[in-house]
């Protein structure tokens, strides 16, 4: 377990299960038609966020994408507020205005996720710029996908982050797809995203995003690089989304990827792999694992109950907050 203490390993394991069980609960409940917003699950991609949850502090700020549940939870965002948000309730983290794609919990430094591909990339860089100008501690983390790097705004943002040596860490979870489009239809054959990022001027590292140990090493090294003021970094972590792009179901039947491909990646389940490792290394027992999962399931079930019971926001409030009132 090289760089990880057993306490850390257990926390990462718990976080992965926490994300998975939350997402599975969303999937299970979605078809009842009460979570009425586009919802993108990260099942299969829990490792990178979980590993980062062990590294980032509350001084570090993060922004994310349409697929943000895992990042939000890993950053410490409130589970109750997220589930309520997906249910469109007044108790939601965005008061129901944002839904699954617009999560925020500023109390833990999760500064927002948005639904336009690439949209939060420069915003994350701007968080880092302000940190530098204000000599504030911590770094800014930008979560992004392999599709988002195709947007010109990624390139512009990366260029500026490199130019000014900003405290920004780009975390690219490469899950091979953008909706139903495979990498080969979008990016030149053989081109590595992390090499592209390096040539823009970022410090980079690549790794297996489904291996806790490898992802931890990559993330930690990159984090230290950025935190020590050496400039912006970009890490590419390979992973795979198990379910459909948007929505609760599996979609291996519709033909954009093969069942064989799916099964192969499915076998690299980051949670099962890590669990086996932990048990083999006697860091945790099978029973401990069940206990962890039980506790999480309980917490998740409670969050869903609370969310379902919570009131919708007052319709008459829909005119509010178009503008902030107080001077800043």
């Amino acid at each position: 377990m090289m760089s990880l203490s057993s306490t850390q390993a257990k926390r990462i394991y718990s976080m992965m299960q926490f994300i998975r069980k939350t997402e599975e609960a969303i999937a299970d409940n979605y078809s009842s038609g009460q979570m009425r917003c586009p919802t993108h699950l990260s099942i299969g991609q829990e490792c990178v966020p979980a590993v980062l949850s062990e590294i980032l502090t509350v001084n570090d700020l993060a922004v994310s994408t349409h697929r943000a549940h895992a990042h939000y939870l890993a950053k410490g965002g409130s589970l109750d507020a997220m589930v309520a948000e997906i249910y469109g309730k007044a108790t939601g983290c965005s008061g129901g205005r944002g839904g699954s794609m617009h999560l925020i919990d500023e109390s833990v430094g999760f500064m927002g996720s948005t639904a336009i591909v690439g949209n939060t990339i420069p915003i994350g860089v701007g968080l880092g710029l302000a940190k530098k100008i204000k000599s504030e501690s911590g770094i800014a983390v930008v979560f992004l996908g392999d599709g988002a790097i195709e947007e010109g705004v990624f390139y512009e943002s990366a260029n500026f982050a490199a130019l000014k040596k900003l405290p920004v860490l780009f975390v690219c979870e490469n899950n091979l797809y953008s909706v139903y489009s495979s990498l080969k239809d979008r990016q030149p054959a053989g081109r590595k995203i992390h090499e592209l990022a390096a040539s823009i001027g970022l410090w980079t590292k690549q790794g297996n995003g489904n291996s806790v140990e490898e992802a931890y090493d990559v993330c930690l090294e990159a984090y230290k690089h950025v935190l020590s003021g050496l400039g912006a970094a970009f890490i590419e972590l390979d992973t795979y989304r198990w379910r459909e792009h948007c929505g609760p179901n599996y979609d291996n039947d519709i033909g954009y990827r093969s069942v064989a491909e799916y099964e192969q990646h499915r076998a690299n389940d980051p949670i099962a792999t890590f669990e086996t490792q932990l048990i083999e290394n006697k860091i945790i027992s099978q029973v401990d694992c069940s206990d962890v999962v039980d506790e999480i399931n309980h917490k998740v079930a409670q969050a869903f109950e609370k969310a379902k019971a919570a009131p919708f926001p007052d319709e008459r409030s829909s005119y509010q907050h178009v503008y902030a009132q107080e001077s800043v």
């Binding site: 979605y30 078809s31 038609g33 009425r36 917003c37 586009p38 919802t39 469109g88 309730k89 007044a90 939601g92 965005s94 008061g95 129901g96 205005r97 944002g98 839904g99 699954s100 794609m101 617009h102 948005t114 639904a115 336009i116 591909v117 690439g118 949209n119 599709g147 988002a148 195709e150 947007e151 010109g152 705004v153 953008s178 909706v179 139903y180 489009s181 239809d185 979008r186 990016q187 948007c246 929505g247 979609d251 519709i254 033909g255 954009y256 009131p311 919708f312 926001p313 319709e315 409030s317 829909s318 005119y319 178009v322």
Partner: protein, 355 residues
């Protein structure tokens, strides 16, 4: 899919695409998802199978660059049809749209036009929220050099898409997600329909309801109910919002003396503002009462089911407003029957999300 059949709006779009690509090998079709399993809500079904991967292709997520590439292809002899699943994504491409496509013919003195068609889909409902359901047609309608159409019926979707493709100018072709499932009789010949004409959907004598896209559906429902109350409403479907077919509108208002302009976008600075301004300037002396507009509230669309009930306005509100304009007061409950009964955020029960 053919032959004067009752088909859906998305099938009509698909039909037009097949016809256009068959008739002219220079037509290409590209955009995120045009060849994926969902085929842009069925509108690009069978295109890649029939016309091949060179003419029908997916693209990187790079809206501005990819529009510019379409413009270049158009300049060099192709007729590209670019598709965006949401109008909102297209905000990334405004430089190429306004500074290149709209101006090329003018700034090079008419030597070369840009025959590109850009299909933009407006989202609505199921929590599409602030950035997946915008109605920004007023922006496009403000730009000289662009043509902007928003057909309502399947037949016009078909014919106007065909015309958009053969038109030598850049055309922004706007589809409302809630129209995709609407059915109608569609001609089976590849006959284009002019893209600069409004259509009188229903004739009347008391008030002109001037609407676009999905709001025409609601206006027609309102007009039926108004008729039962003895109010004769004329319904004009703008079809094209740049250029606007002024003669049709002005003639209607000269006759009815009243105008209620219905927009699917945020009210302030909307196309309905332009309609009301022009009508007020031109038909001032024919107006029997103050002109009026309806549009979406001037705030972003919230996501929550609990916050969106009143975000969109439908036949009931239109009827009340028109009734007031023609007869004065109108009790709120008079047109209550027009309000939908099912969930307000889906076009019909068949819709189960997520988008």
């Amino acid at each position: 899919m053919s032959s004067n059949d009752m088909i859906t709006y998305s099938q009509a779009i698909n039909l037009a695409m097949h016809q256009a690509m068959e008739l002219d090998p220079s037509v290409i079709c590209y955009g995120l998802g045009v060849d994926d399993p969902k085929r842009i809500f069925g509108t690009t079904d069978n295109l890649i199978e029939k016309f091949g991967a060179e003419r029908v292709f997916d693209m990187p997520t790079a809206e501005n660059g990819m529009l510019g590439i379409g413009i270049g292809a158009a300049i060099n002899g192709l007729k590209p049809v670019m598709v965006h699943q949401r109008m909102d994504f297209f905000l990334l491409a405004m430089d190429q749209l306004v500074n290149s496509a709209a101006k090329w013919n003018y700034m090079f003195n008419g030597q070369r036009s840009v025959p590109i068609t850009i299909r933009l889909i407006v989202g609505r409902g199921w929590g599409q929220g602030p950035t997946h359901a915008q109605n920004l047609q007023a922006w496009f309608a403000h730009i000289p050099g662009l043509k902007v159409v928003m057909p309502t019926t399947p037949e016009e979707a078909r014919g106007m898409l065909l015309q958009s493709i053969v038109d030598p100018n850049p055309v922004v072709f706007i589809e409302h997600r809630w129209l995709h499932g609407q059915t109608g009789i569609v001609r089976d010949t590849p006959t284009p329909i002019p893209i600069d004409k409004a259509v009188m959907r229903r004739s009347g004598t008391d008030i002109s309801l001037v609407a676009m896209s999905y709001q025409v559906v609601e206006a027609l429902r309102a007009a039926s109910a108004l008729e039962q109350q003895g109010i004769s409403a004329e319904v004009i479907d703008l079809c094209s919002i740049r250029p606007i077919d002024w003669p049709t509108i002005l003639q209607s208002v000269e006759k009815t003396g009243r105008i209620l302009a219905l927009d699917s976008g945020a009210l302030t600075g909307s196309v309905s503002s332009e309609v009301v301004a022009k009508v007020s300037e031109t038909c001032f002396s024919s107006l029997k009462s103050a002109p009026a507009r309806m549009g979406l509230p001037d705030h972003p669309e919230p996501t929550s089911y609990g916050l969106t009930k009143d975000f969109y306005y439908g036949a009931d509100k239109i009827a009340i407003k028109a009734h007031e304009m023609v007869l004065g007061e109108c009790e709120a409950e008079r047109y209550a029957g027009l309000a939908g009964t099912g969930h307000h955020d889906v076009p019909g029960d068949y819709f189960k999300g997520p988008f």
